[in-house]
């Protein structure tokens, strides 16, 4: 972090007022090297593209029609799935109906709520920000969906379908964290997720059992496994990718996959007692 700020000490020492409080002279960017003789002549290492993605040099703008390959597959859960404990809610809030824990959801041997995404192999493309909104609902004093994957630039629209109050407490890192109350009947809380963000929880402090996971990607190649553990990543360009599967409590797994234009590859991840 802030590697770009390195060298300011040196810049400062070179300004007319070493050790004083005068700021280094305004400059275009902070990427100046320590060897530059004055702040004014600081070179900028950054390209002039407005996206600011230095790594994007030589890359092309992505559009959907460029991807014709598909990676699909399944998340298996080996062994006996843990029982999801019932949650008694009425002793905290009589307006909550009661439910069950949903951290590990297994159906037909498949594990739901695993986020699958392309992690490496997309360096050749530049992706526009995502658009539109995705919904996160509070219903029956639980979150729907329990795991939400979205693209940077999209808005998460948080609604309250319950006849009770919740507080939406987000622990996002690169996007502004917040803790906003949402009584019954209050309008949706709209939060634009402008930056990619590693998986973070959104919780309700009033109903301590309420939690969900949100992850924000800076590209469109991600999905969440369905209730039977199946997933599909369509519209990929041909290439070799590192695929990452991430479950909120069972952790991360990786796989490498190569797809050709128009082709489909199958990848299976395996979690559970017999998993490594």
């Amino acid at each position: 972090m802030n590697r770009s700020l390195i060298g300011l000490g040196a810049l400062l020492a070179l300004t007319a007022c070493g050790g004083g409080d005068s700021a280094p002279k305004p400059q275009k960017s902070t990427t100046g090297s320590t060897s530059s003789s004055t702040a004014e002549t600081t070179t900028t290492a950054k390209s002039t593209d407005t996206g600011g993605a230095a790594k994007a040099s030589g890359s092309q703008d992505w559009n959907d029609s460029m991807g014709t390959a598909t990676v699909s597959g399944a998340i298996k859960f080996e062994g006996v799935a843990p029982e999801n404990k019932a949650i008694t809610m009425s002793d905290v809030d009589p307006k909550c109906p009661g439910g069950a824990e949903e951290t590990i959801l297994v159906s037909n041997g498949g594990l739901a709520n695993v986020v699958i995404s392309v992690n490496k192999g997309l360096d050749g493309y530049k992706f526009a920000k995502g658009t539109g909104a995705v919904n996160l609902d509070q219903k029956g004093c639980q979150y729907i969906p329990h795991v939400l994957a979205m693209q940077a630039g999209q808005t998460v629209s948080i609604t309250n379908s319950d006849d009770t109050v919740h507080n939406v407490h987000s622990y996002s890192k690169r996007n502004q964290a917040f803790n906003q109350a949402q009584p019954a009947g209050a309008g949706a809380i709209e939060k634009k997720m402008s930056q990619k963000d590693k998986s973070f929880p959104i919780k309700c402090d009033m109903h301590a059992w309420m939690n969900c996971q949100v992850v924000v990607f800076d590209h469109p190649f991600f999905t969440v496994s369905d209730e039977n553990g199946n997933f599909t990543l369509p519209k990929l360009p041909a290439g070799t990718y590192k695929l990452v599967a991430e479950h909120e409590s069972l952790g991360k797994q990786e796989a490498e996959v190569t797809v050709a234009d128009g082709g489909t590859e199958t990848v299976t991840f395996s979690y559970g007692q017999s998993a490594p």
């Binding site: 409080d21 005068s22 280094p24 275009k28 002039t48 109350a181 402090d205």
Partner: protein
């Protein structure tokens, strides 16, 4: 023994207008002498600021700290115009590599690019002289509780509850802002007001001193956190707007009671203060609905704060018993309720309740405080009635 930089330092400092003492500045350059010498000399010149032996007081390097964003900049310009002053920032669409930026005429605030994070944000330059002044006053006035390095574990603070803030956690409870972190002005107001019911006193220091201390406190942010996090949001104190209940305070209290136990359900965490038999009516529920046990007591809640590496739980206040920390006027309470309390279960309510409901809550809470303050017998009576559901 004068630093060769002295004169330049003085010029620079005069230019930014935060200079309190020319004399003290002799020691604040990037001076190669050992810290102990500095301590010694400062102690000679300013006997009240004698630091514990071996504790360095001088900071030789300045630093960039996150500044508030465009909204704040525009506010500052408007404020300046209102006072008939030249606005400090001009908009330049070609600045910051074509990103567009507000250019600060003094150069202290700049839009800067963080290469690793690929992100543009406003940063504020804080020089070593100001940091040293802030450090000196911090050691003098704050360190006995907040620790010599701001870890919240000073000699006098170790046994205090609530524990003094650990500034390296970069989380602050009563800033009354909607963003993660407060503006300098918001933090200064907190220091000047203190926190009632805690050993955090209202500090009657000069504005310059508090400004310097605030810069020093901000500089305690670890790498990638707080004021060293490019993604941090910094906001001003939430605006209270016009009081919709002016002249109708009694109605406000009555309505506040309804909001508290109805739509806002404050009693999920704070105590309920009405007869449990009245709750179903307020909540539109069947008469035989059973509410949480000990409804007349608050519920201990998780927080993000750590003391000695352990997360601490926080008890939401019982307004008839605990001292309200950050102001007891309806406006103060409005600000606290509207903005929430960072790092705790208390959310922001602004935008989620109507302004009328928010102000009514503030009046109701104030009424609870006033009604039972220093009246143990009355409060005991209330508690008994609530406990027994009478």
């Amino acid at each position: 023994m004068r630093s060769p930089f002295t004169q330049l330092v003085c010029l620079a400092t005069v230019a930014i207008g935060t200079l309190s003492s020319f004399k003290a500045l002799n020691f604040f350059g990037s001076d190669p002498r050992a810290d102990e010498d500095h301590s010694q000399m400062i102690a000679e010149e300013l006997p009240h600021a004698r630091p514990p032996r071996g504790v360095p007081l001088t900071i030789t390097e300045g630093t960039w700290l996150r500044a508030p964003g465009e909204e704040w900049i525009i506010q500052q310009n408007e404020l300046a115009r209102k006072q008939g002053l030249e606005p400090r920032f001009t908009e330049d669409p070609s600045a910051a590599d074509g990103e567009g930026a507000w250019i600060d005429s003094t150069g202290f605030i700049q839009k800067r690019y963080d290469e690793e994070e690929d992100f543009w944000a406003y940063w504020q330059w804080v020089g070593p002289a100001q940091l040293t002044r802030g450090r000196r006053d911090f050691v003098q006035f704050c360190s006995s509780c907040h620790g010599l390095d701001g870890d919240g574990y000073g000699r006098s603070g170790q046994w205090l509850r609530p524990s003094p803030r650990d500034f390296r956690q970069t989380n602050f409870k009563f800033t009354k802002v909607l963003a993660n972190l407060p503006t300098d002005d918001a933090l200064k107001r907190l220091i000047k007001r203190g926190l009632d019911g805690t050993p955090m006193l209202p500090w009657d220091l000069s504005d310059e001193q508090i400004t310097d201390i605030v810069q020093y406190i901000k500089s305690l942010s670890p790498e990638g956190m707080g004021w060293r996090d490019p993604f941090t949001g910094i906001g001003s104190i939430v605006e209270a707007g016009e009081n919709p209940w002016a002249g109708r305070e009694n109605f406000a209290i009555k309505h506040g009671e309804k909001v508290y136990h109805g739509v806002a359900q404050c009693m999920l965490c704070h105590p309920g203060y009405v007869n449990p038999r009245d709750l179903p009516g307020l909540l539109d529920q069947p008469e035989d609905t059973v509410y949480r046990e000990n409804l007349y007591l608050p519920v201990l809640k998780d927080s993000e704060y750590e003391v000695l590496g352990e997360k601490v739980k926080i008890l939401p206040p019982d307004f008839t018993f605990h001292t309200i920390r950050s102001g007891q006027t309806p406006q103060d309470l409005y600000e606290t309720i509207a903005s929430g309390i960072k790092g705790t279960a208390m959310p922001a309510w602004k935008g989620s309740l109507s302004e009328e409901d928010l102000w009514a809550l503030a009046y109701y809470v104030q009424d609870l405080v006033e009604e039972y303050k220093d009246k143990p017998a009355e409060r005991r009576g209330l508690m008994e009635r609530l406990r027994e559901g009478l």
